[in-house]
Structure formats: C-alpha cells, structure tokens
C-alpha cells in the first residue's frame, strides 16, 4: 500500500521526525489559510498524487509543473486554483494522468546538503537494515552501482532496536557533527520507531536535508507498508486512496481476489500465485501478452470465479481468456461449473481456453464439453497457451 506525501508528513509529525512545516489543502482558500499560518518567506506548493516526476509534469489544462515556489499566501491561492481538480500527466502516470484533489503547502527550505536514509527489512539476514549515503536527492540504485563506497549498511537487532551508538555512527558517516549529530540521533531513533510501530516494509527518506540555517529534516519520503500487517494498522488503512489505484484491482480486492492489472490482451484466471505468475510467463512464451495476474486461491468458490470473470470481461483490452486450474484438493467439476455459470451470465463473446488438471478432472471436462459454450480445452499449460494465442490472433 502507498500513501501521499502529505500523509507521510503527518506520520513524521506524529513520531517526532523533523520535516518541513506545512499542511494539506483541498481548496484554493484552504491553501491561502495554510500559507498564512506558516513563517514568512518562500512557499512550496506540491500536487498530491502517488506518481513521481510531479515537478516536470504538465496539467491537461496546459499549466506546467506539479511543484511550484511562491512568496505570498495570495500567490499560493492562485497556484492552487490552477492545480486542484486538474489532471496532471507525468512520466509515471501514463498519458491518462491523475486528477489532483489535494495539494501540500509548505515552507520552502534552503538546502545546504542532500543526504539519503532508508530502513528496510533485509531478506537475506531477516533483520532491519539501515542504508545511509552522503549522496542524497538522486537514485540510490545509481549510487550503489557507481560509488558503492558511499553507501553505509547497518544491521539492527530486532529486539534491541536501533541503538544510540548506531545513530551516532550513521550521523558521523554522513558528516553530521556538532548540534547536527544530536538532531540526527533523534531523527533516526524516531524514524525507526515509526518503521516498527506502523509495520513498514520500507521507509526511504530521499533527500534528508541539512538547511542553510543548520536544521536536519526529512524533505521527501517513500513508504511501503506490509500488507500482511494492515489488520492491526487501522490508521494506515485509513490513508488508502482508491482513486490512485487501478479500478480493476480495487474491484478485485472487494471479492478477495488477488489481481494485478497489466497491459496485454490475454486475461488469465489461475489458482495459486506461483502458477498464476507462470501462466503469465507462458502466454508471453507462446507469443501473446498477459492482461493480468489473477490468483483465485486454493479454495475458490463459484461466486469468486464468477466475479473474476466479470472483472476480466469489464476490461475492453481483453481479447481472450486462459483459465489454468490445477485442482489438488479443489474439485475440478466445481470450478468447471463456476466457469460455465460465469460465462453464460456474462454473455462471453471472446475466445476461452480452459486447462483443468487434478481432482475429479474427468467430470470437470465433461461439464465444460456439455455446456454448449464455445470454448477449447488445453491438454497441458503450453498447449492451452498456444491455443488462446492462436484464437486471439485469428479473431483480430
């Protein structure tokens, strides 16, 4: 799950992580009010969408840039009126862009140094790892590739948490001395506490800045939360913005289906995550392009299969469907009936290839054959993939 920049700042404020003063605004008047409440000086106005590249983006109304500097609350109001309710297109949004419903109004800061600080859970060692670098404001992968000696990695004991000596060690490696070392220790300690208490899988502060007047603060941050822990994080769940998500995925999540939208035209419906990934791969192997990842799970019901069909068919890009089921415990005939019911109910008019294997497979195949539906059966996964790719090409 992702959150907005202003929500990240709210989390920082809650946990005492120093950040740029400012607040969110929903209307131009609110933007003016927020700006009036801030210290006099330069202001920054930032469009709140999940996608990156906002500064270099363009609004569909022709207004350039999703990030602006200004001097007065009146100017903030004017800028807000040009951004709110408008659609911003960046290199990450795709050509359709994203509507801007909220903006962040903050005090602009004069940056002396840009640093990098992140916490994530390291799979190899199964403990949290801090990654820090003097090279902030740029892509950390590039730093890791070109100047790996400028990256510090430090493991944290999950029972002790980040120790004071570790925060000082990191601060020293970043050249944060004197009063900045104390600020750094406090910031790192509080950020670690936020990471653990809110079940993050990653927090990346980039850049972490030193201002010209000697303050250390988190200027921009990216959070990833552990989906498995959302059941105990109601305040994080409340930050979910479904308008930022693929509508197909939002609908699927309502039916407890594990769905991820892709750009291809052959949809797939599979039981099991590994098999679902492998089915996408085999569609490509056969010369097609997968439209989605969809795992209906080991205990899928007829209703879930029917919902899955509706979601797949609501996507106008989809020109064919491949169903791939290995019914280990699940009865293949139950699945076959679910497919038949869903296909009839949705008035299926595009090619459908079904590959069934496993428990009670003969009855399942018989149900499909006698359904009167125009569908093909695949002998194995590769055969099924070849058939659906051929059928979609023939229909085009």
């Amino acid at each position: 799950m992702n959150i907005h920049e202003f929500q990240a700042r709210e989390l920082f404020a809650e946990f005492g992580v120093a950040t740029q003063p400012g607040s969110v605004a929903n209307t131009p008047t609110e933007a003016e009010t927020v700006a009036t409440g801030l210290n006099q000086g330069k202001l920054v106005i930032k469009a709140q969408i999940h996608a990156g590249g906002r500064g270099k983006g363009t609004f569909k109304n022709g207004f350039k840039g999703g990030v602006h500097l200004c001097d007065t609350p009146a100017e903030a109001k004017d800028l807000a009126s040009k951004m709110l309710g408008q659609v911003l297109v960046t290199h990450q949004t795709g050509p359709e862009g994203k509507e801007v419903g909220k903006i962040f109004v903050g005090e602009a800061v004069d940056i002396a140094r840009e640093l990098y600080f992140a916490i994530l859970i390291d799979r190899a060692t199964s403990v949290p790892v801090v990654i820090a670098s003097t090279e902030g404001g740029v892509d950390i992968e590039t730093v890791a590739e070109k100047t790996p000696e400028k990256i510090l990695r430090l493991s944290i004991n999950p029972f002790l948490g980040i120790m004071p000596y570790q925060t000082r060690l990191i601060a020293a490696s970043l050249g944060l001395t004197g009063p900045l070392m104390n600020q750094a220790s406090k910031l790192f300690t509080n950020l670690y506490r936020l990471f653990i208490e809110r079940d993050c899988s990653m927090v990346e502060v980039n850049p972490l800045v030193v201002t010209t007047d000697g303050r250390l603060m988190a200027l921009d941050a990216k959070f990833n939360f552990d989906d498995n822990a959302l059941y105990r994080q109601p305040s994080i769940v409340a930050m979910r913005d479904v308008t930022e998500e693929d509508p197909r995925e939002v609908e699927a999540s309502k039916h407890s289906l594990n769905y991820i939208g892709l750009d291809g035209n052959i949809a797939c419906l599979v039981n099991g995550a590994g098999l679902a990934m492998a089915t996408m791969d085999i569609i490509q192997h056969a010369g097609g392009s997968p439209a989605n990842f969809l795992d209906v799970g080991g205990g899928a019901t007829r209703e879930q299969v029917a919902s899955a069909f509706r979601i797949i068919l609501a996507d106008s890009r989809v020109k064919g469907i491949l169903v791939n089921i290995f019914g280990g415990i699940m009865d293949c005939d139950v699945i076959a009936n679910g497919i038949v019911e869903a296909a009839k109910e949705t008035g299926l008019s595009i090619p459908l290839v079904v590959r069934l294997e496993g428990n009670n497979v003969e009855a399942g195949k018989k149900t499909l054959a006698e359904s009167g539906l125009k569908l093909e059966s695949g002998e194995n996964i590769l055969d099924a993939a070849n058939r659906i790719v051929a059928a979609v090409k023939a229909a085009a």
């Binding site: 799979r123 199964s126 992968e141 098999l275 990934m277 492998a278 791969d281 294997e357």
Partner: protein
C-alpha cells in the same frame, strides 16, 4: 530414507479445530499420516474425528504422544506465538502453513529461534510430503495442504516456493513414472525458516534422492545462493523453473516475497544463475519433469 519426515513421523496439528486445520488434518489421516495430537487452547481433553486427542498446549501434546513435528494452521495474528510454542516444546520441525503473518513478527520469530534445535518450514507454504508405498502413495507423511494422491514413492526430490507449481511438478513426475523421495514447499514469504539451499543440502545427502527439481520465483536471492552452492557441491542432477518473467517491477505478485525491487530478484537473473550452475532450465511450467529427464540423460 527421505528428508525431514518419514511415514513413521508423529505429527501434531496446532489449530486442529479451525475449519482449515480440521479439513487438512482429516485429509492427512485419510492419507495414512500418523497424526497423533491436535492443539487448541481451551479444548484440551476432546477428541478430533473420534480418534485424535486434543491438548491445550503443545508441551502437553509432545509429552503425552511423542510427536516430533507440528503443522500450524492458526490465523496470522496468533501464528508467531504458535511457532514459538512449538520451538519451546523442543519439536524437531515446525511447518507453518499460515498465510499472511506480518513480516515484523517473522523477523522476531527468527531471532528468537537462534540457537534452538527446531527447524521451521514456511510460513505461507503448502508443507511437505514424503510419499508412502500404498495405492496413490497412501501411507506417507503428509504435513500441510498438498494433495496426497498425486504423489508416488520414488527418488526425485522437489523443493519450491509455490504450492501449485509443486503440485504441477509432482504430477508431471508421477504421470511419467518418476516417484518422489520428499516434496517440500518452503513458502512464498520474504522471511522464511528454511531456504532452497537448506533443502538442496539435505537432498544431496539423502541416499534415496537421485535427482532434484528446484522451483523458484522472482524476489530475493535464495535461488542464486542455492545454485552457487550446487555448482560446487551437489552431486545429483537438478532441473529448475523460475516463475515471474513477465511480472512488473515493484508489484507484489500474490506471494509477499514475490517482488522485483531496484532491479534485484528478476527471473532473468535467476535463470542465468541456475544455468551457470549446470541446472537444466524448464522453459515453461509444462516442461519441469521433462527438463529433469533431459538432465538425467545428459
């Protein structure tokens, strides 16, 4: 021999009275597995299916029945506690089937398990099967949720992060006449108890295992580590399959651990590492058993 469990292994089930646990406990009993105890706090003294005694604690169950292995079916909020209860009772092996355990909980479990004698498999895994000698492999040790009947007793070891891909591989082997020594699903979470490498080492030392299928997917570097070891030390033929070549970067593909991030953990990188180690690559999931047969004839 097999690895980890034999048909004689005494198994207890934590969460035996939940619908998920009960269903699979029953299937294991029907397969002929020695399910000797169940644990559900507050239901001690009752019987499961009129034959398996239920205990309030794992400790009691172990002392009364001699169980050495546990399968965990409890819901995610209670799973970390259940695993550590099994560890504290001195079990040899704890198999956590539960999907959806917070990663911070698993991090603490792994830290707390350091120095203990217990091995953890999973979480978020289908469990393991050592097939039996009866019809449709009846009489084997089935721990978890895999379909028992697809197996056949034999000499191929299977290790995988994915349940359904394991079943695919097993079924392909069985229908081609190749049986299995033990099939292990290590689970799809980013932090798990047992890695591909751990299982490869066991298969390499197991006299009954003559060949190995290793199934991986995007995310992490566990497959690469296993392949690097195998290139130097493994004396047995291996075939491999990696899922997720078409997965977009930064998206979690069903399994919590199946994610490509920062260009790391890609299918292409893993396939290259496996190939470099002399592992025969299955080009598609339909090709897993055939890839192993090709490798054995090479």
């Amino acid at each position: 021999m097999s690895i980890l469990v034999t048909p004689e292994t005494k198994v207890l089930i934590q969460g035996i009275t939940g619908s998920f646990g009960a269903r699979h406990a029953k299937l294991s009993l029907e397969y002929g597995t020695k399910v000797v105890a169940g644990v559900t706090p507050g239901k001690g003294g009752q019987l499961f299916e009129s034959q398996v005694p239920i205990f309030d604690t794992v400790d009691q169950a172990v002392r009364e029945t001699g169980a050495t292995v546990s399968a965990i079916f409890v819901p995610p909020p209670f799973a970390a506690d259940a695993i550590l209860e099994g560890v504290a009772a001195g079990l040899d092996l704890v198999v956590a089937i539960t999907e959806g355990i917070p990663v911070i909980d698993m991090m603490k479990v792994k830290e707390a398990m350091k120095g203990s004698k217990t091995r953890l498999i999973g979480p978020n895994c289908p469990g393991l099967v050592t097939p039996g000698t009866g019809e449709k492999s009846h009489g084997g040790c089935r721990i978890g949720i895999a379909p028992g009947y697809i197996h056949k007793k034999g000499n191929v070891g299977v290790v995988s992060r994915s349940g359904t891909l394991t079943y695919e591989a097993v079924w392909q082997l069985t229908t081609r006449g190749y049986g299995q020594s033990t099939c292990v699903g290590i689970g799809g979470d980013p932090i798990n108890g047992t890695s591909h490498l751990d299982i490869l080492k066991m298969f390499n030392e197991d006299p009954e295992t003559e060949a190995i299928i290793m199934i991986g997917e995007i995310g992490g570097t566990a497959e690469e580590e296993a392949a690097a070891w195998a290139a130097q030390h493994c004396t047995k033929p291996i075939a491999g399959f990696i899922a997720g070549a078409t997965a977009p970067e930064g998206r979690r593909m069903g399994h919590a651990g199946a994610i490509v991030s920062g260009g790391q953990g890609t299918a292409a990188g893993k396939i290259a590492a496996l190939r470099a180690a002399g592992i025969e690559i299955a080009e598609t999931p339909s090709d897993m058993a055939d890839a192993l047969i090709r490798r054995m004839k090479r």
